[in-house]
């Protein structure tokens, strides 16, 4: 099962990942991080399909994705 980790203090709250996620499982927190931004959170991790669209679209490399099983570090997207 894919695991999506969003690094709270790297996030600038741009919401691009929220829009990108086909599963609509990312949403913005109601809290702010140390920079004062509302940050993105994965709210329903189990529904994640590991499509990486959130990470691909994040301008701040705030998203990290893990899976169990084979994976390729260099993927041609």
């Amino acid at each position: 099962m894919p695991l999506v980790q969003i690094e709270k203090d790297r996030c600038k709250g741009c919401e691009l990942c929220v829009r990108a996620c086909p599963q609509e499982i990312i949403s913005m927190s109601r809290e702010i991080n140390t920079k004062g931004y509302f940050y993105a959170q994965v709210v329903e991790q189990p529904r994640c399909i590991g499509c990486r669209l959130c990470a691909i679209t994040c301008p701040d490399v705030a998203i990290l994705i893990r899976v169990n099983g084979v994976s390729y570090r260099f993927f041609a997207y």
Binding site: I32, T34, K35, G36, F38
Partner: protein, 184 residues
Amino acid sequence: MQIEVKFAGFGGQGILSAGKFLAEAGLHEGKEVVWIPSYGPEMRGGTAYCTVVVSDHAIGSPVINNPAHLIAMNRPSLEKFAPTVKPKGIIIVNCSLIPITSNRTDVTEVLVPCNQVAIELGNPKGANMVALGAYAACSKVVALDVLEAIVRHEFEKKPAFIDENIAALRRGAEIAVEKVESLR
């Protein structure tokens, strides 16, 4: 009488415009005023600050190493500038983002949760106005209603912003007054 205040935080927090409003208000009250940004818009991110000097007489050096007052909107600003504030000065601390205090005993330190308040007011970008309101109430450098007039004037073309910013100013002022009284 001459008062120097430093607004400090990071780029994007509205530091420079809050300072500008204060300066405009000072001008409006017939004072001599100087507003100096630390730097222009060429760089974003990092620490941004501006200095406002409000005085009854002509202002000499615009270089202020030791301001009378400080408004610290994030942690690095507080750490950097708190030690430079003149004794008996005022420090406004945005405790939404700053988990520490200055540890100074010779100044009046007022903790205002600017971001929280702004979020509560439904105007998350208004943290700078909350801070400005709080500062004006503590320092009495300019009158709150003059500040409100300036806000009205500046947002003439975007009337939607007027009310929410005035609300932020007022709420900031209220909190500050409460806090200051509790300090007594």
